[in-house]
Symmetry: C2
Subunit: 387 residues, 2 copies
């Protein structure tokens, strides 16, 4: 209690991006008295539009737009990784405003190749992979990784876009061309991992220290996060190991801010780091109510240089289910009358004007005493909620 920290009056946080992650970070910034501005698309329909008067419209990788944000803000952060590390670096240098996570960290994980090399070099297990230089190299790749393997666009892929499982030379060639491999875009090939679960850990770090969230299980449908179970229903020692690897990973990139790390748990109980995200993450939404401090408050604290609080689970079990669009059209919300008599049920709606089949429109989090019952309640409520 000796050292003290603070914020000057009217401290301003600039967020590159105007989606739901920016919006949920903004709620927590507001709660700490921090002003928030954001770079939003020109559509005028981004979730951030409704929650702050300070909007800079343009592309998230456009230097001039980012400079306008930087001129306004005291510190800058981001809500997605589809940015240009070089542009971030120029904006930080030319504006003199700090960007967290730093462009230096960002560049170490900017492409899937760099990300995997960075973590592998730090001694963190990752799935075997090679860079594919040409169509001609695909046969050799298959021989090394075994068929089928996965081809990935090194940059810009998300939620399954830019990924393809290929079983033979013809499929591999088609995917390689689709991902622009012949036009010089980087494509990597990765071994198929026979995993039993996918896990995730959120970690935050700044000059005050490092804090981690409980290891959770993420369940994907069609490559999109559908559900998250916290804590992950695996042994405590495996969860601890997963958290340790995530902490090793954030240190490997000297990360300042909040990062999400996704892991495969193989059938041999081996953990492989799969992906990282330099921002709040869908797998951490459960923390908003399940933990003593939400990932969004921790994000804001980490990038604004405030002390971090250790997140503790308030309940033995939490289940987060994404509310994915159930129709195409204006986003009308229908919810059940009686949510749950026994568990805590929390609804989050992102304020998107239009619903589309499968679009992330919101999420629900249910807190309870055991995962099994909590999951039953969560499923029931998700089914009764239309958005």
């Amino acid at each position: 209690m000796n050292k003290r920290f603070g914020l000057p009056p009217g401290f301003r946080l600039g967020i590159i991006g105007g989606g739901q992650l920016a919006r949920m970070s903004a709620y927590e910034a507001f709660r700490l008295g921090i002003h928030t501005g954001a770079v939003c698309s020109t559509s005028g329909k981004d979730p951030m539009e409704q929650v702050t008067p300070v909007i800079f419209r343009g592309d998230v990788s456009d230097y001039d737009t980012l400079m306008k944000l930087a001129e306004w803000a005291d510190v800058i952060t981001l809500e997605n990784e589809f940015l240009d590390g070089e542009v971030l670096e120029r904006v930080q240098r030319d504006s003199g405003k700090p960007v967290y996570p730093s462009p230096k960290s960002f560049k170490l994980i900017e492409s899937k190749r760099l990300e995997k090399e960075t973590f592998r070099d730090a001694g963190i297990p990752v799935a075997d992979f090679v860079v594919v230089e040409s169509v001609a190299a695909l046969q050799k790749t298959g021989a090394r990784l075994g068929w089928p393997f996965i081809l990935k666009s090194s940059k810009g892929g998300y939620d399954g876009y830019g990924n393809a499982v290929v079983s033979n030379q013809a499929e591999a060639e088609a995917a390689f061309r689709k991902f622009g491999g012949e036009s010089g875009r980087e494509v990597i090939a990765e071994e198929m991992v026979d995993f039993t679960k996918e896990l995730a850990v959120m970690v935050a770090r700044n000059a005050h220290g490092m804090v981690s969230y409980p290891c959770c299980e993420t369940i994907q449908h069609h490559h999109i996060c559908a559900k998250v179970l916290a804590p992950a229903p695996i042994s405590r020692s495996l969860r601890d190991e997963c958290v340790s690897l995530a902490e090793k990973a954030i240190q490997a990139i000297d990360g300042i801010g909040l990062f999400g790390f996704e892991f495969f748990l193989t059938k041999d109980n081996e953990l492989l780091l799969n992906e990282s995200a330099p921002r709040p993450h869908n797998s951490g939404h459960f923390s908003m109510e399940a933990c003593s401090v939400s990932q969004f408050e921790t994000h804001v604290r980490a990038v604004c240089g405030l002390p971090l609080a250790k997140p503790v689970m308030r309940y033995p079990a939490a289940v987060m289910i994404n509310l994915l669009g159930k129709f195409n059209g204006p986003a009308e919300l229908t919810l059940p009358d009686s949510e749950s008599a026994h568990e805590e049920v929390h609804l989050h709606v992102y304020g998107k004007a239009e619903s589309r089949l499968g679009r992330k429109m919101g999420h629900i989090t249910v807190l309870g005493n055991n995962l099994e019952n909590t999951l039953v309640t969560a499923d029931r409520i998700e089914q009764a909620t239309i958005l």
Copy 2:
């Protein structure tokens, strides 16, 4: 789970007032995907200014300003009671947009006289009082209520302003004149209640039902709420009785929305309803983290016609301490490094540009396993936090 309720796309909540209560309600509206607009003062410095692009500047009792809000909003609510019930009624009628709490309910508690008459007529115990018509009546008032007694401006008093304890005829005459009694402003006289504690209960009600928050103790310094202890350290049966009286009170005014009810606990363990507030209340801030659903979410749900969830305490004890301005000048925040190793500590800063001695700048809530320890931690953190 048979009945279903919902919100049309882009549902808009208009709040009359731009202070911290509006701001904290807005956070919860945003989380439910509800757009929020507010009537703010012309200063441009209200806490709401930073959290929504939809601001209508003007006086909260100005018909034209409220009509602009009503034109934009789907439903209207308020954040303080210093409004004109007649104007609210005209706005509701002329705009066709519902106002909750309704002008009808509002008018039953619009002045201290009406409020006390309404609750007394409903069989809810209140302190003895009389309307003072003239200076000449003061002596008779003293004879009935006993000296000293309290003189109150019937309208517009808050945090001790508009209240005076008077011990003799000279003091009584001075206060009566100060409150405008001679110019026709209504002044009431109230007996001094020998209370041991002040208690408060938040209750919400709409077509879906009624829910209540735990009875808490409020501790005032210089007539301003300083601390809140939840649950109130009194017997369970007294807490239950207090909740019952609050529920009787909201029904007595057919209240739709969220109401705060303040009580005196006399040394004979008698409960007297002291004041009501048709809005979120300082005594309910602890609910933001201490309960399964915060008073602000319940406020939004109640006025937007959504189902209400029963608030349950997550921890055995919660202490809320207001962060009252410790200096005059730009609102720089200084906070301790390590907040607490054992309890949950939550910081709220209202985004006011200027600090002033004693001004409500924010609050902290500490959650723990017993009130005594939690209070020690909360006091320590409040002392180390400067705002």
